[in-house]
Homo-oligomer: 215 residues x 2
Amino acid sequence: MPKNTIFNPVTRLYATWQPYNSTKMEQLLETIKLYISLSPQEIQSLYEAVQQKSFGKNELIFTEGKVADEIYFVTKGCARLFYEVNGNDKTAFFYTEGQFICAGESYTYNIPAIENYQAVEPTELLIFTKSAIEILLQKVPKLEVIARIATENELITCQKVIASFVTKSAEERYLDLLNTQGQLFQRVPQHYIASFLGISPETLSRIKTRVLQKE
Amino acid sequence: MPKNTIFNPVTRLYATWQPYNSTKMEQLLETIKLYISLSPQEIQSLYEAVQQKSFGKNELIFTEGKVADEIYFVTKGCARLFYEVNGNDKTAFFYTEGQFICAGESYTYNIPAIENYQAVEPTELLIFTKSAIEILLQKVPKLEVIARIATENELITCQKVIASFVTKSAEERYLDLLNTQGQLFQRVPQHYIASFLGISPETLSRIKTRVLQKE
DNA sequence: AACACTTCTTGACCATCGTCAAGAAAAATA
DNA sequence: TATTTTTCTTGACGATGGTCAAGAAGTGTT
């Protein structure tokens, strides 16, 4: 049995049980507590719905072509969303601690995904399978609220990204990212950030020196 | 009393009542029926929650600085989302028949919106005020599903737009738009489309001639 | 410490894009 | 229909960005 086998409720008897790590779970609970409160029993149901998995640096979390049937929650590390486009890959988004990851269209409409997700540092995820979520939501319907809020927040974030592409120059987007997500520059290779900004690595390098000279 | 006054439940006694147009409502019902079925009583509740308003060409539907407390549904015409950025405006999205419009962050978190919405052709909207939605969802909880689906679909659309900015050139984005939303070029001024593609009107004009020559 | 590998920077050169300005075409208005 | 206004196109030119290539800096591995 390979290490880090994903726990699958359907094949429960055969899979390696990955005990949840209470520290990791607490991080999810913190996020949930921002919006609703849960009884000990409800928390127990949550525990039963989730598994945990660790990914090494550069390890792939999910690859295109598959139908997504899991939602991930980042408890540690950083992952990126990238698209494989004729040979080279393009980073479209970063996910850090406290964020949910889901290949939305694939998960919702059961079609093959075009997204890839990869750990860019050692990363730990909580994993909810679709079937586990169905069971969980029957037991604890008010968690629907969390799903709605997570979706709304991601939508708001995406709309801001689009607004930045439409209204701002590459240099402005770089400065914005520096102000709002500065830690990313310490955590992920610059060429990933470049493609997230919609430019080449060389251009990002030149923008950086240009900005430094202005100071 | 100006024509087309927005019906406001709070000032019901003073506002002009805009009777709903059953043809327009049917369009909304068609959209809803794709996902759930409603009893005659539930449809009646929906009718009571909604008002209708017409906008002339170029009329502003919603402007930045206000806190959004309404969701719109386009039954006829076309609207654009634009941002006002030091003097000139930048179009970030188009909404046509069957789509919901909502300044998400403002509506969700009660903060002033930075978005503007404008009719680019004579446009007719169904309007749901926040308070009317609250009442409606208490009466017909299963409409929550529609809210969730509409949010999910908009998220998926936004993710595709971001993917196109990150992975494609301006010319490729133009060709994509032509294939998927070609009618837009017959309906809205080209400089709106240009800024939606993240380029200047002149560049779009040149891309068009370049593409024509390739054929 | 030595080596390999990845990442980052820099230069050269060319392609693309933005801006300004002028005029043509199309649409709205009188 | 005539006139005004808006939209679209085209040219010129400068700014920005992409690509290729070389080398430097930094990481990780043995």
